[in-house]
């Protein structure tokens, strides 16, 4: 399954930071996911529920912050957010977009006790 390995990484990073802070429990993990990546919230949640059992992250809430794709048109300079992943410029209709946001995939913070 696609999200299994990356969710293991989410868990590893969260546990590492929690251990460094001598935390007893992780309550929340905020994950930032850009819409240009192939990662799906529900799949991450599903894998997390399975992987976190028995760890101090068990039961932690995952909060997902999605970053929409932002494109800058190389032809006319327009900056836009496409409706789907269609990179055609709405102003000049050129297919010449540079992705300036939407590739993110990181853990922003965790809440621990």
């Amino acid at each position: 399954m696609h999200e299994l390995a990356v969710t293991q990484q989410v868990l590893n990073i969260a546990l590492q930071h929690a251990e460094e802070a001598h935390a007893k429990r992780i309550h929340e993990i905020e994950i930032v996911i850009g819409d240009m990546t192939s990662f799906v919230n529900d799949a991450v949640q599903f894998c997390f529920d399975a992987l976190s059992k028995g760890t101090i992250a068990e039961g932690a809430a995952l909060s997902f912050r999605r970053v929409p794709v932002t494109i800058r048109c190389r032809e006319c300079g327009a900056v836009f957010t496409p409706d789907d992943l269609d990179l055609t410029c709405p102003d000049c209709e050129a297919y010449a977009g540079e992705v300036i946001a939407g590739r993110e995939f990181y853990i922003d913070h965790i809440e621990v006790e």
């Binding site: 990484q9 989410v10 990073i13 240009m36 977009g97 995939f105 853990i107 965790i110």
Partner: protein, 223 residues
């Protein structure tokens, strides 16, 4: 009482670190490394086999094959007498850096100049995982249609070269070559396009030349 701990850590950092190690190891041996990605059936293995034959006497080749199951591809490549290792992911939809690191153990890096890593057939998932390559190569094929770059933009944006295979079928398929070229350059104005046919051999000389140039311009070996 809950405390917030700021993390700001890339989820894929563990993979990226191993990829960086792979890249250092390969660079130290002067090996140009390709991560070859395409949908199943586009012609990854055919391009690899034709490349090995074209480069005979010029660049020594090695191959890492990635598939969910079977050694069909590595067996084909082995008939050409080059070092080849098969990775079976057992269900995983992409190769990752750790799998490549394991495959590189014992690989005769002193005996090769070019390493071609054939990723799992998939236009989506491999894009997120660095392996330690110098170049990302996307292989498209005429029967797949000229809209694939638009439907799978990330891969074609990342690729430093796009090999359009099965050009011999162009007369029989509704494929607008001008539109395809435009879409590729729209996604990545710096990518090189190679229009080839593994069946007839057309276009493969230019591809082989480009690889030789790439090898010649690799940063110097770490002594």
């Amino acid at each position: 009482m809950a405390d917030q701990i700021k993390v700001v850590k890339n989820v894929l950092s563990a993979n990226d670190e191993i990829a960086a190690q792979n890249q250092l190891l390969l660079g130290a041996h002067g090996v140009l490394t390709l991560n070859i990605m395409a949908s199943p059936g586009a012609g990854k293995t055919s391009v690899i086999m034709n490349t090995i034959q074209k480069l005979h006497g010029r660049l020594r080749c090695g191959v890492i094959e990635g598939d969910v199951a079977s050694s069909v591809d590595s067996e084909k490549v082995a008939t050409l007498g080059v070092p080849v290792v098969q990775i079976n992911t057992g269900g995983g939809c992409h190769l990752d850096a750790r799998q490549v690191q394991d495959a590189l153990e014992g690989f005769p890096l002193d005996q090769i100049d070019l390493l071609m890593i054939e990723n799992v057939g998939n236009l989506i998932c491999p894009t997120a995982f660095l392996l330690g390559e110098n170049l990302r190569i996307a292989i498209a094929s005429v029967p797949e249609g000229d809209d694939k770059p638009v439907k799978y933009p990330e891969l074609f944006h990342q690729a430093q070269a796009v090999v359009l295979n099965k050009m011999d079928l162009l007369p029989y398929i509704d494929f607008d070559l001008a539109v395809f070229r435009q879409r590729i350059s729209g996604l990545n104005p710096n990518s090189r396009m190679f229009e080839v046919s593994c069946k007839t051999g057309a276009g493969l000389d230019a591809w082989a030349e480009w690889l030789c140039d790439g090898h010649a311009t690799l940063p110097n070996r770490v002594s």
